[in-house]
Symmetry: C2
Subunit: 449 residues, 2 copies
């Protein structure tokens, strides 16, 4: 037979079983936390009609989109979960209850240039709250509390959620008479951390024609740092010069105040005036999340408030707030930084049953009992030597081996062995099931930090 060399496309993550178990644990935690906050699950197709998916117009992603024809249909793979959400809400408007809170965890596709840590197929884990005509500021405060809980429950300790408000920025540029250039200015300011204040000043004055004095004011404004209370206090000095700014400041103060009620510790969130998140879409609170010890990887969870989810599909006003976690990239980073926990159980079974006699009925009976008690059990049925069977259990890191030799079968018992400690005892089936159940320990976080 002619053989094809099997390979997986570059930019597509495919994990060995142990790593997959860690990835699954991360996905399960994200799903559980999202659910705790009262979000409903959504699942939309990976393929959409191109005119629907690209209704908003391309932008930078358009070149990256997987687009093709099948028969007469012009099709494309989704490149995020936001456009499918907009489609879904616009289509099903009269069947949904607003505010509509949904989470979705699914694969999206972008044909980016292949490079280390960049993926062409990757999971996004999104939540959004969509209002019908209006949406209370409370939602903008709750979202970062969800970010906090997700990462805390994953086991990450050292991260900061940076919060800003687009109205504060827009209002500030209004004050300086620079509204029309605000998009370009925000893009320049976004580079502050990377290239430093003096280079940004150069871009502002030389490339964008911002007056020296205004460029100085912008850099002063962006350098406002300190505790959240201190930043808000300094912002209050700008009050009364722009209605938009004042609204933004009120929102920022409200969000900051509520975040404390939500139990997010002060050292895990920071008002940061340099955060802007893109240009047109966001209109209120915006968020980015950084790993304290790995600022180089950028934001691991971002989002914000927007006024118009689905303007390209419907005339309904659908404001919302949402966040997205790029799970595939996050997993790659955690693995790369050595932050995946070694303690996380990755075995496919809790008990490996080793029948050493020809009659398999006792093994089947024990397996059925264990499974009935919710314990994951596998019968190792291959006719191998005892040593090979134990090696299999060790390789898979199965915590318990249940040995059914002739003596055990005659006595109607089983030798249960704890593979981690070496402890072994002859027990009745009921006692063995109970012993395994007692041994199941508290869940381990996927991340060590």
């Amino acid at each position: 037979m002619e053989r094809i060399k099997p390979h997986t496309l570059s930019g597509f993550m495919e994990l060995l079983p142990e790593k997959q178990a860690a990835m699954d644990a991360i996905m399960a935690t994200v799903r559980r936390v999202y659910s705790l906050y009262g979000f409903t699950a959504l699942d939309t197709p990976v393929i959409e009609a191109s005119d629907v998916l690209l209704a908003k117009g391309g932008g930078e992603t358009e070149k990256q989109i997987y687009r093709f024809t099948k028969g007469d249909s012009d099709l494309a793979l989704r490149f995020d979960l936001t456009v499918p959400l907009a489609k879904y809400v616009a289509m099903n408007y009269s069947n949904l209850t607003f505010p509509f809170r949904r989470f979705q965890i699914g694969k999206v596709y972008r044909g980016e240039r292949a490079q280390r840590g960049r993926f062409r197929e990757f999971y996004q884990a999104d939540i959004d709250v969509i209002g019908d005509g209006s949406l209370d500021i409370m939602n903008e405060a709750e979202v970062p509390s969800i970010i906090y809980r997700v990462f805390t429950e994953l086991g990450l300790r050292r991260f900061v959620i940076r919060v800003n408000n687009r109205k504060v920025l827009t209002g500030f540029y209004d004050m300086l008479g620079l509204s029309e250039k605000s998009g370009d200015i925000m893009r320049a300011v976004d580079k502050l951390e990377k290239i430093g204040a003096e280079k940004v000043r150069g871009i502002l004055t030389e490339d964008l024609g911002v007056p020296e004095a205004s460029a100085g004011e912008i850099l002063d404004f962006m350098s406002i740092k300190g505790s959240n209370d201190r930043v808000l206090e300094r912002l209050r000095d700008f009050r009364g010069r722009s209605g938009v700014f004042d609204t933004g400041l009120d929102e920022l103060a409200a969000v900051t105040g509520l975040l404390k009620s939500f139990g997010v510790p002060e050292d895990h969130f920071a008002v940061d005036l340099t955060i802007a998140r893109g240009l047109d879409y966001y209109t209120g609170t915006v968020y980015e999340t950084f790993m304290t010890d790995h600022p180089e990887v950028g934001s691991i969870c971002s989002g914000g408030r927007y006024d118009n989810l689905a303007g390209y599909y419907t005339d309904k006003s659908l404001p919302g707030v949402g966040i997205s976690i790029g799970l595939t990239r996050l997993f790659f980073i955690l693995d790369d930084c050595g932050l995946l926990s070694d303690e996380l159980p990755t075995a496919p079974a809790d008990v490996l049953i080793l029948p050493m006699t020809d009659d398999r009925a006792p093994a089947v009976e024990l397996a059925t009992g264990l499974r009935g008690a919710g314990i994951r059990a596998q019968i190792y049925a291959e006719p191998k030597k005892f040593k090979a069977k134990m090696a299999y259990a060790n390789k898979l890191k199965v915590p318990f081996a249940a040995i059914l030799g002739e003596d055990e079968v005659k006595a109607g018992k089983v030798s249960l062995k704890d593979m981690r400690t070496g402890w072994q005892e002859l027990l009745s089936f009921g006692e063995a099931i109970e012993a395994v159940r007692r041994a199941s320990v508290a869940p381990v976080s996927p991340i060590k930090d």
Copy 2:
């Protein structure tokens, strides 16, 4: 703004929230049962290189494949989960531990002609056990016990797993000297239930040139019915005429015997000599699963034993046994037959918190307490009238409303209302959390039957 009419492609399932909750419950049950049997989770890309995906050669599915180019790459969307498994095992052979037991639940793509109940994007939920060179017959007996448990735990009662062995069939056609025509004959016999014995006899004698006498023997053989013991007994009359047949019969008897040990009731599985499952791939035990009251929908879970998982990628001998459930189609059928349970909780939250005062801190505190206790809670923050807030809770079928009016806040308490019974009481936050926790009832099966 120019607007695009939002729509979802035909043949692509996209559910409203309540139905999605039911689908998710089904997927979670399948995943849980698969896990109980000691299978490891696998996740492979949706997109593969076309030469890899089509290495086996097309067959009927080839026309249906979504295939396209991106840059220089000839790509295709997976049309099942078996070819990706073959690729994975061949690629990672030296890093896997055999027998390798994996489950995978994921979307696959087939550009079938659009028709009711046919999907172009659908979930498959597969398990496979792959041996390295050999694989014990025990695995062939365990697999139908997993089918039994999956459907039983889903809540389905009236179904039968039909079991056969390809060696029994191959051996039987050997005896008649019809080995070379066995593929065509099996295809004809497969139509027995649909077109009846006389029409099949016509195809056998006229189209395939099978002698009258042999056609009679084939139809006699296929009409062997009755209890499993009775069928096996009648098959024993054919012993000694074909080595392959005798092996097949031994395997069939072993599987049948072990199935009883696995606790599968006799009325839920049947030796059925008409089951053949395709032509080349399967070599031993084969399975199909039928809903007793809906035979017209065909098999809802099929699979079997094969000798050579990945011959087109590797010279390693990789025998295996597996099954596949087409979850999207199954969901469609269950919904269509009215078999989805009305009792299944579909609300996105267990408690809806209704703050009636300006200060949201008490609502946030209660929400945090509930979530800390693992209870799904949502704060309804929109400034609506009380009646509108209760209507929201009713629409979403949230079981509890937690009302925080001025009186409650002053007293540091909450009015907890059971939306199903109307019961309402003024409680401390701790008491309310405890009351909700106590009320969470035993899990409901997604299917009523």
